[in-house]
Structures are given as structure tokens and as C-alpha cells.
């Protein structure tokens, strides 16, 4: 039984908590320190600056893109305003042109109308003169014919009519 003591002690250790086996402490502490130092240098020298850089790059890219988008939006708004202005200008110009054309046409029309009116009135005067002339001629022919007929009638009735009284009588009759 006495030879069993070391085995028993070992058994007690393995049956208990390995966490309280102080003989392994220096080993664990040594490797922990080595591990932590390696991790620290890997992280602080390589990993963290790189990841931090990537994160700030991304933040910059995002803010840059947002600014560019804002600028493009402003540009689009300016273009739209310019387009609207051009449209208004064009409309105003079109209106002024059409007004001018209308005035010109009206003027031309008025001139043509006046000319036509003058022509028409001249033609009317001429026609009236012609009508008067025809009427005068007709009156004169009627007088001549009436005088001849009256003279013949008087001669047939056996009278002798002098030309002077005959003319006066016809003139008086034609007036009535």
C-alpha cells in the first residue's frame, strides 16, 4: 500500500480539478504570454491599421459618392431650369412673331381693301355716267320721235303745227 502513495496522489489530481494543478501553471502562463504578444503584434502592426484603413476608405467613398450625387442633382436642376427658361423664351418669341405677322397681314389687307373700294367706286361713277348718258340719249330720241309723230298726227288731222309750239308742248308733256 505504501508504494501506492504517488499513484494515489496522481489519481487525486486527475480526479480533482486540473485547473488547480499548480505544476502546470508556469507552462500555461509562458505560452499565454507568447500567444498574447504574437496576437498583439499581428493585430497592432498589420490587421488593425489595415481594417481601420478599409473602414475609413469606405466612409470616404460613401461621403464622396453622396457629394457627387448631390452635385449631379444640382446640375440636373440647373439644366431643367435652363430648359424651362428656353421654353418660355421660345414661346414669347413665337407670340411676338405671330403678332407681328398678324399686324402685317392686317395692314396689307386694309390696303388691298381700300384699293378695291376705290376701284369699285370709280367703276360705279363711270357706270352712273354711262347710264345718264344712255338715259339722255334715250330722252332725246324719244323727243325726236314724239315730235315727228306729233307733226305727222297734226298734219293728218289737217292742221299745221309750227315747230316751236310743238316742241314746247312735248317738253311740257315729258316733264309730267
Amino acid at each position: 500500500m505504501a508504494t501506492d502513495t504517488s499513484g494515489a496522489a496522481k489519481a487525486a489530481e486527475s480526479a480533482g480539478m486540473p485547473q488547480l494543478d499548480f505544476s502546470t501553471f508556469p507552462n500555461q502562463m509562458f505560452w499565454l504570454v507568447v500567444t498574447l504578444v504574437i496576437i498583439y503584434f499581428v493585430l497592432s502592426r498589420i490587421a488593425l491599421p489595415r481594417i481601420g484603413g478599409a473602414l475609413s476608405d469606405r466612409a470616404n467613398a460613401i461621403t464622396g459618392d453622396l457629394a457627387a450625387a448631390e452635385a449631379l442633382k444640382q446640375k440636373a436642376q440647373d439644366a431643367e431650369a435652363a430648359y424651362e427658361k428656353a421654353l418660355v423664351d421660345a414661346r414669347a418669341e413665337a407670340q411676338s412673331i405671330s403678332a407681328k405677322m398678324k399686324a402685317e397681314i392686317q395692314e396689307q389687307l386694309d390696303a388691298e381693301l381700300a384699293k378695291a373700294d376705290a376701284e369699285i367706286s370709280a367703276k360705279a361713277v363711270e357706270a352712273q355716267a354711262k347710264v345718264a348718258e344712255i338715259r339722255d340719249n334715250a330722252t332725246a330720241s324719244v323727243k325726236t320721235v314724239a315730235k315727228d309723230v306729233a307733226k305727222e298726227l297734226v298734219a293728218v288731222m289737217g292742221g299745221k303745227a309750227d315747230a316751236k309750239s310743238l316742241t314746247a308742248a312735248i317738253n311740257a308733256r315729258m316733264k309730267g
Partner: protein, 257 residues
């Protein structure tokens, strides 16, 4: 003698079926040979810490190699970890605490990766050992205390003197504050190691029950549930360790409440 007998009993039980060795997974063993464990012996601790370093390098260096504007998946994870810890340091410690961001990042990355690696079957969980967590907690404690005195001189002692409390209470509160200050490294380290150890041991106990046909389904369900919980705990404990470090750091930088 008695323990020796029980061990023999359990050894016998191993042949019959139901046997519990929940703590065996935490044993530190040499990787090569079977000699005593010296300071520089290459052990399973070395292996799993090396794997932790490897994973961190793969994630934070190789994964984030591209520096792409649109990140790859690995780069996203690395950036997420970076942003998470960076924001935590900034929020808790303040702008002037950002100088210490790489140190807190180192602690956080080591703990979170070691915790997750420890969840692999057959893995050795380095963070379940009080020797490991105590070194980190003591390092934080000493660094914060020295930093407090260097930055504020004796004014750092005002961290114990709560000026917003009534004058009568202040000495009593100061005593409590001093005690709590010195308990910090203990709670800081035992919280992490205890959580990791307990969770893994419980999973192992459930796993032993899986050998019994009748209760195997329930046992496997319980393992699954515990595993999910442990995944959560692995992250949360790393987060808690890091944020407490930030809180202690804030006390050192701004001792006046």
C-alpha cells in the same frame, strides 16, 4: 488511498458503461512524450493557443487582405469585430481610451477565438484554466492601477472617495470601494474560467449519460441545448471580459466620478 480506490472503481465502471470523466478534458498534457511539464514544454495548451493565433491571423490578416470597398464575407467578420470592440472602447472609456484599443482588441480576440475553438469536440479550452484568465486579469489590474497613478498621480485615489455620497458614509464607502477594487482581478478571471469550465463539464456529463440507451435521446437533446447555450456564453464572456477591462480603464483615466 480512498481516492485511489474510487479511481480504480471508475476505471472498472469504464468497462461496464456509465462513467464520468467531466474534468479530463481540462488536463494539461505534453504533446510529445510523457515527461513532466516544464515551463517550455510543448503541451496541448501550446497547440490550442497556436490554433487560436492561426485563426486570428486567418480572420484579421488574410480575411481582411483585400481592403475592398465592398467587403468579402471574411472581411465583413473582421470589420464587424473591429467595429464592435472599437465602439465599445469609445463608448465606455471615451475618446482618450482609444489609444488602448489594440490591447483590448488583443484580449477580446484571444478570448473569443479560444472560447469558440474550445467548443470543438476533443478540443482543449485554454480559457477554462484559471492560470490563463488570472494572468490576463492581473495584467489588466496592474496596467490599470499603474496607468491610474501615472495619469492622475495621487488623485487616482479619489476613485475610492465618492464625493457624491454624504460625508458620514464616505469612509465606509471608501473601505468597500477599496475591497471591491482588489477583488476585481479575482472576479474578472474566475468569471471567465468558471463559465467555460462549468459549461464544458456539464456537456461532458450529459455525454456520459448518452451511453445508456434508454436516456440517450434526452441526453443528446440536452447536449445540443447546452452547446447552443455555450456558444452564446463563449461570446458573452469574451464581451464581458473586454467591457470590464474598458470600465476599469475608464476609472484609471477619469477617476473622478
Amino acid at each position: 488511498m480512498k481516492e485511489g480506490k474510487t479511481l480504480a472503481d471508475t476505471k472498472d465502471a469504464a468497462e461496464t458503461g456509465l462513467v464520468f470523466h467531466p474534468m479530463d478534458q481540462f488536463q494539461v498534457k505534453p504533446l510529445f512524450g510523457d515527461g513532466p511539464i516544464g515551463v517550455f514544454t510543448v503541451t496541448n495548451v501550446t497547440l490550442w493557443m497556436a490554433l487560436t493565433v492561426l485563426v486570428i491571423v486567418l480572420l484579421m490578416v488574410v480575411g481582411a487582405r483585400g481592403r475592398n470597398i465592398v467587403p468579402t464575407r471574411m472581411q465583413s467578420i473582421a470589420e464587424l469585430a473591429y467595429g464592435f470592440v472599437y465602439k465599445m472602447v469609445e463608448d465606455v472609456t471615451g475618446k482618450d481610451g482609444l489609444v488602448y484599443f489594440p490591447y483590448i482588441m488583443t484580449l477580446f480576440m484571444f478570448i473569443v477565438v479560444a472560447n469558440f475553438l474550445g467548443l470543438l469536440p476533443m478540443a482543449f479550452t485554454t480559457t477554462s484554466h484559471i492560470a490563463v484568465t488570472a494572468v490576463m486579469a492581473m495584467a489588466v489590474f496592474l496596467a490599470v492601477t499603474i496607468l491610474g497613478f501615472v495619469k492622475n498621480g495621487l488623485g487616482f485615489l479619489s476613485v475610492f472617495w465618492i464625493s457624491s455620497a454624504p460625508l458620514v458614509l464616505r469612509p465606509i464607502l471608501a473601505l468597500i470601494e477599496v475591497i471591491s477594487y482588489f477583488v476585481r482581478p479575482v472576479s474578472h478571471s474566475i468569471r471567465l474560467a468558471g463559465n467555460m469550465m462549468a459549461g464544458h463539464a456539464v456537456i461532458k456529463v450529459f455525454a456520459a449519460f448518452a451511453a445508456v440507451t434508454l436516456i440517450a435521446p434526452a441526453s443528446i437533446l440536452a447536449i445540443t441545448a447546452m452547446y447552443a447555450l455555450e456558444t452564446l456564453v463563449s461570446f458573452i464572456q469574451a464581451y464581458v471580459f473586454a467591457i470590464l477591462t474598458c470600465v476599469y480603464l475608464r476609472d484609471a483615466l477619469h477617476p473622478h466620478h
